[in-house]
Symmetry: C2
Subunit: 241 residues, 2 copies
């Protein structure tokens, strides 16, 4: 605990999702003044090759740019690092190995949060990029905790999710929100009792269209933000008391 607390955010994926995560961090932290708020250094540099295309085998590798962000955050004094992008967790192991500061894992934080829900849902929907769903992190984690995952079909992902995601990235949040809302509704109709929004473009877009099922959703950025805030509060009370 010798380094002062500084949360490094490896962002830019996408840039609006990073800003949304930073707002979530502030909302998750009890503070009566500026000085009590969580200190953050955010690398919101979106000039990173497209993660979805790379994972689909049709685009350059984003790892070199991700490693550059990790290096700069470490050099600038980050004590902890987060990546508020589910898909980028594909490279979590390599980024973690290259980082002096521990890199928290958004998927693990989310699964831990879900396991503490009461009553625990029997069936949980998961919406995310094809790369995230193919990796199976959320589905495997749910099964290990005795919950049944429900995911969109490959066709639904390609025809509804992917265009919605790129709509948000070009600033058309309403179009993205409408696509995500239809997809979420479909999973709920198939029996999901909760929905994991496993791509950081989804929550901000669903809020923008005021999706009626928002109360049933689980936002990994929220789980990650709560964890960061808890760590900061420990430091704050020891270092700045």
């Amino acid at each position: 605990m010798s380094r002062p607390f500084l949360l490094g955010v490896l962002g830019g994926m996408g840039p609006l999702a990073t800003v949304d995560f930073m707002a979530t961090l502030l909302a998750a932290t009890p503070a009566d003044s500026d000085q009590q708020q969580i200190p953050v250094l955010a690398w919101n540099v979106p000039q990173i090759p497209d993660r979805q295309k790379a994972l689909a085998g049709c685009g350059p590798d984003p790892l070199p740019q991700l490693l550059r962000g990790i290096e700069i955050l470490n050099q600038a004094g980050a004590s902890h690092i987060v990546i508020p992008c589910n898909t980028a967790h594909h490279w979590h192991d390599q980024l973690s190995a290259a980082s002096r500061a521990p890199v928290l894992h958004m998927v693990q934080e989310t699964l831990d949060d879900i396991a503490s829900l009461y009553p625990r849902p029997a069936r949980v929907g998961v919406i995310g990029t094809p790369g995230t769903l193919r990796a199976g992190w959320y589905q495997n984690g749910l099964e290990q905790r005795a919950m049944t995952p429900l995911t969109p079909t490959a066709r639904e992902l390609e025809q509804a999710f992917v265009p919605g995601c790129y709509a948000v990235k070009r600033g058309d949040i309403e179009t993205g929100g409408a696509a995500f809302a239809r997809l979420g509704q479909t999973l709920l109709e198939r029996g999901a009792q909760r929905l994991i929004l496993a791509c950081s473009e989804i929550p901000l877009a669903l809020r923008a269209v005021q999706a009626p099922f928002l109360a049933l959703t689980i936002d990994p950025a929220q789980a990650l933000a709560r964890r960061c805030s808890a760590i900061w509060q420990q430091y704050r009370h020891t270092q700045y008391a």
Copy 2:
């Protein structure tokens, strides 16, 4: 133009205003993809002594912490730096002198924007911290451009503005917004045709309470964001064409 473009944000004053500025930057930048968006490194570290108290002579000097932020942003490769806090422009000269990257000036950008309004308003209200108003940047700039500034009385500042500002900083945005809305309404009733929101806590709070005069306001963060976006687009077309 040898350094790649990277916008350094000296933030944390307050942290929510910094996040709001980052969202404003994205909205001000035309982009069809993540990769076209403006690259930003944001130092959102609010452990900086209170600027208002320092300027009132009753608190420690924030300059050392501000210089530390400038140093880290420069070391990390910032090509340009902005400070999305009006009050902190009190230290702009010293920060600029210590920075390799040019530090844009939010007040100048705003005054340039106002001068290009058509029709040009005859009377412009200015709401900000006592420190910002005492410095007279906006009032002098308006007079030099043949506009008459209107400001709250010292009593209105102390009894309405200052408590509103600290309410936002402790997360009570509605209380702050209500205070700012009353103050803005007062200046409009005294003849202001436009209102400069010369403290970065004001715009987000007035939006939260949906103040009826929002269309008449001028947000310095918007002027600064438009300038940053214009510089980035020049770079983008030369460096990433």
